[in-house]
Amino acid sequence: MDTKLYTAIYVVLFVAATAQVLVEFAGLAYWTALAIIMVLSLGKAVLVAAYYQHLRYEPRSVTYVMVSGLLAALALTLAAAYSIT
């Protein structure tokens, strides 16, 4: 595989991590900052999974397994947090 592509992704990840902290210091409204920061995290995670872990080049079923785990965890988190009175 292409080392250049890996390097480019590494640079993007590095920048995105820096951007998260800059967003925090930018003085945005709390929930706006939270949303941006979490989207940046998700984007980085997708990049690492798709290219460093080669999920893009595996059968899609492997991705589905990981997404199932993620959905289970999200279902637990969101429903539990919502259930609080």
Partner: protein
């Protein structure tokens, strides 16, 4: 996947006609098949069965990795735990002869109730089913063994050791006494202070580890190692039920693992997730526990359902009516099982909207079960029933399950549950369901006994067993419905119910005696029973009945194939016909080269799974009492850790050949080699583990007030530094893989060394940060904020440490020139390392910025 167009009218039952085709000898003395003879790999004193000592030798049972042996170990051990849990049940029933109790102290009763529940659900029911799964599933798939035979043996030894830990807990003050659901805050040391209670939690923790290893192994096997033509749609029903069970296990047990790790931290490290002061602490436990606990109901019941379906087919001589729909219904239940958990929590403080939602999903999950029940009933109507012992038990199981299911619908209604919760209605309901499942599995025990032992059980005694069992069961549990107002878990109840409880106690003893009849029958038949044919039943149709009883070590006389529509055994040497890759799986160990012939020698023995089990015992017993001040505990812990590391390295270095694969059917994971798929599946469960940790943090913070929360680190910069470090280390692993692909030894060594150094740097940076926080008075037990911070990032750090240990091992091997002709180990290590990186990408903002 082949272009399989099997529709529902095709007979999927393979090869009943080919039964008994192999030689009648139970063991073959030539140490292998006739096609290979050029590699004398077995030691002279162990030439009996591929390096395995004979079955009469104790050593065989310590070193075996063969799926049939492991299956027998599982069945025998689980029956031991049945007796253990059954004796506790007898004590409970004797105590309940009179209101206020008879023979047990309060504490003894609480322990008996708790450990009875834990033993029966975890250490008996599931492992009993997995004994059959181990033995039967590879036969039904057409596989020589599981994908990772040593990990299979490891699952067994961890299971046995976890049960021993539970037994040990009784001798450390007292065992856990807060009920099998371990509700918070009763589960924290303030209320259950004994060392034995901690050991009980550890026992369950180790059991969970065993289950996780087992689910990864079974999923890899069942998806990747099916014989040519054995498509998922053609898979026998028992194997289908196990496939769905292990998928549920993979995700559900990860949530339990999270719950138990947090609980262990609360008990040993002093975190305060479940403490009374913690916001939503007791609610958090119920969420984590029941998110696992409801799938667990089906995890224990599905194998019984699968066994019942097979027995119904064999003893009615008819294919299951609506087979395709039956499988679809099971699939639906497996999915739905993850969205019904809050029906166990109608009397907690969750809001009414979510209760209503979960009442609806609960009603929804009963519908596929209706279909399955009717499919079984119609199969009986359409077929001609032979009332042999296995059928009687399977039929009895169905009747009991119907009763248990209907009474459960009452509990699923919010308003009725307000009344029934905490009463014997619940106790009666889940015993009808769970022990109804046991009934089906006992049917499975009689059904497969001739296959496993090669001997026929005594039919008359089998029927006596069923009579006593069924009468005893109903005498025991039905009165509980009548006396439902008896409060659960305590031994005081209104005088009006004395009669009913005394009837129940009599029933308990009848049920217990029925098992004595069974044990006698099985034992006597083993010694002097008639020899069983390959297929002792008139209509046995699945592949296990096409090989001798018991099957030879290598299972099949040739390579099984369903390519022609029915089961046939092809020449092992012909590897070109399957149209797929053929490779040697090395079970994560050292890959040995040079197997150019079609059927390579397969290993069946390793002492290391057993040794790892023993090491785990020392680790956990040592850890249970570290807070007592007795130095023997930490000494045992450290000694155990060293032994554990040694045994793990030894197993990794051992040369071991698992069975090769794939054999033609690997949908939907074609092209994902066994070890890689195993790694991905493990990571899938790890997603749920970390997800549950992060979910616990989010839940607790929401309960606390999201923005009122105090973020523990002062500023995000150290966290940002660690993000840079981990990202760079991930990049280094990628470079190591590229170097390995290019055959560049120095590149591999340098990249792995950089990974190692960065990992150490990550931990060092974290250490400095923790040190400073500690000196500012922000330590693990300071507040709920610090508890979640230290434990979640600590779990991540533990993953980093494990990764670094692997990196050291790989660095040494890379220095010696490994990985240049095969870069896969570097790639698979990378999958793990990148996953740890991804987790940090979420922990960093959640714990440092927001």
């Amino acid at each position: 996947m082949t272009g399989d167009t099997t529709d529902d009218t095709d007979d999927p039952r393979p090869g009943g006609e080919t039964s008994g085709s192999a030689d009648g000898e139970s063991t073959r003395g030539d140490g292998g098949t006739a096609t290979v003879g050029d590699l004398p790999t077995t030691a002279p004193d162990e030439d009996h069965e591929h390096g395995l000592p004979p079955k009469s030798s104790i050593k065989r049972w310590l070193v075996t990795t063969n799926h049939k042996d492991v299956g027998i170990l599982y069945i025998v051990t689980s029956l031991f735990f049945l007796i253990f849990g059954g004796v506790l049940a007898m004590l409970i029933r004797v105590q309940l002869l009179e209101p206020g109790g008879t023979i047990l102290s309060d504490m003894a009763y609480n322990q008996a109730v708790t450990v009875h529940g834990l033993l029966m659900v975890f250490w008996f029911l599931s492992p009993f089913a997995f004994g059959f799964a181990n033995y039967i599933v590879p036969l039904q798939l057409g596989a020589d063994d599981l994908a990772f035979p040593r990990l299979n043996a490891l699952s067994y030894w961890l299971y046995l050791v976890s049960g021993l830990l539970l037994a040990i807990s009784f001798f450390q003050g007292n065992s856990f006494s807060g009920g099998w659901t371990m509700y918070a805050p009763l589960n924290v040391p303030v209320y259950t202070p004994s060392v034995g209670a901690t050991t009980t939690v550890f026992a369950l923790l180790l059991f969970t580890a065993s289950v996780t290893v087992g689910s990864v192994n079974f999923l890899t096997t069942m998806h990747r190692m099916r014989a040519e033509g054995m498509t998922l749609r053609r898979m026998p029903l028992f194997t289908w039920s196990i496939l769905l069970t292990v998928w549920m296990m993979l995700f559900a047990f990860a949530a339990l693992l999270a719950a138990l790790m947090i609980l262990s931290a609360d008990r040993v490290l002093g975190t305060m997730y479940f403490a009374t002061e913690s916001p939503g602490g007791s609610l958090l436990w119920t969420h984590l526990f029941w998110f696992f606990g409801h799938p667990e109901v089906y995890i224990v019941f599905f194998p019984a359902l699968g066994a019942m379906a097979e027995i119904f087919q064999t003893f009615t001589g008819r294919r299951l009516v609506g087979r395709k729909w039956f499988i679809g219904a099971m699939l639906l239940v497996a999915l739905q099982s993850f969205v019904v958990w809050m029906h166990h929590m109608f009397l907690t403080s969750i809001n009414l909207q979510i209760k209503t939602l979960f009442m609806a999903t609960t009603i929804g999950i009963s519908l596929p079960f209706d279909l399955m029940v009717f499919a079984l009933i119609y199969t009986m109507i359409k077929g001609r029933i032979r009332f042999s012992t296995p059928f009687l038990f399977a039929f009895g199981g169905l009747v009991l399950f119907i009763l248990g299911g209907i009474t459960g619908v009452f509990l699923g209604a919010v308003v009725l549950d307000y009344e029934f919760r905490g009463t014997y209605w619940v106790v009666a309901h889940f015993h009808y369901v769970m022990v109804g499942g046991v009934t089906g599995l006992v049917g499975g025990l009689y059904y497969w006994y001739p296959k496993i032992t090669g001997k026929m059980y005594d039919e008359f005694l089998g029927k006596v067993h069923f009579g006593l069992y069924f009468v005893g069961f109903n005498l025991l549990y039905f009165p509980m419905f009548v006396a439902w107002e008896t409060p659960r878990r305590v031994f005081d109840y209104p005088e009006a119910f004395v009669g009913w409880h005394q009837v129940a106690t009599v029933g308990a003893f009848v049920l217990g005696v029925s098992f004595l009849v069974m044990f006698y029958n099985l034992y006597a038949s083993l010694i002097s029973g008639e020899d069983a044919d390959a297929c002792p039943w008139a209509y046995g149709s699945t592949a296990e009945w096409a090989v001798p009883s018991p099957p030879p070590l290598e299972n099949f006389p040739g390579r099984p194939s369903y390519g022609g529509g029915a089961l046939e055994f092809l020449d092992r040497g012909r590897t070109t016909t399957d149209g797929g890759e053929t490779e040697a799986a090395t079970d994560g160990g050292v890959k040995a080269g040079g197997h150019g012939h079609g059927h390579e020698e397969v290993s069946h023995a390793s002492i290391w799974p057993f040794a790892i089990g023993i090491a785990s015992l020392f680790v956990l017993v040592g850890l249970s009492g570290v807070r007592t001040g007795n130095v023997a505990y930490p000494a045992t812990f450290v000694g155990g850790l060293i032994l554990l590391l040694y045994t793990l390295v030894a197993m990794t270095r051992e040369s071991f050949h698992g069975p090769s694969g794939p054999f033609g059917e690997s949908w939907p994971f074609e092209g994902v080699e066994n070890t890689k798929l195993g790694m991905w599946l493990f990571l899938g469960s790890d997603v749920v583990l970390f997800g549950a940790f992060i979910g616990s943090y989010v839940f607790t913070r929401v309960a606390y007030g999201w923005q009122a929360w105090h973020v523990v680190p002062h500023d995000p910069i150290p966290g940002l530094m660690n993000t840079y470090i981990l990202l760079t280390s991930s990049f280094a692993v990628v470079l190591a893989m590229v170097a390995a692909q290019k055959g560049n030894r120095n590149g591999v060594v340098a990249s792995l060394a950089v990974t190692l150094l960065l990992g150490i740097g990550f931990l060092g940076n974290k250490g400095i940060e923790w040190w400073e926080l500690y000196h500012e008075g922000e330590w693990v037990a300071t507040s709920i904020e610090t508890s979640t911070f230290y434990l979640t990032t600590g779990l991540h750090a533990a993953h980093v440490i494990v990764g670094l240990i692997i990196a050291v091992y790989m660095l040494v091997r890379a220095w010696n020139g490994a990985y240049l002709d095969d870069d896969r180990p570097v790639e698979y290590f990378g999958l793990y390392w990148h996953f740890v990186d991804i987790v940090w990408l979420f922990l960093f903002p959640l714990f440092y910025i927001l």
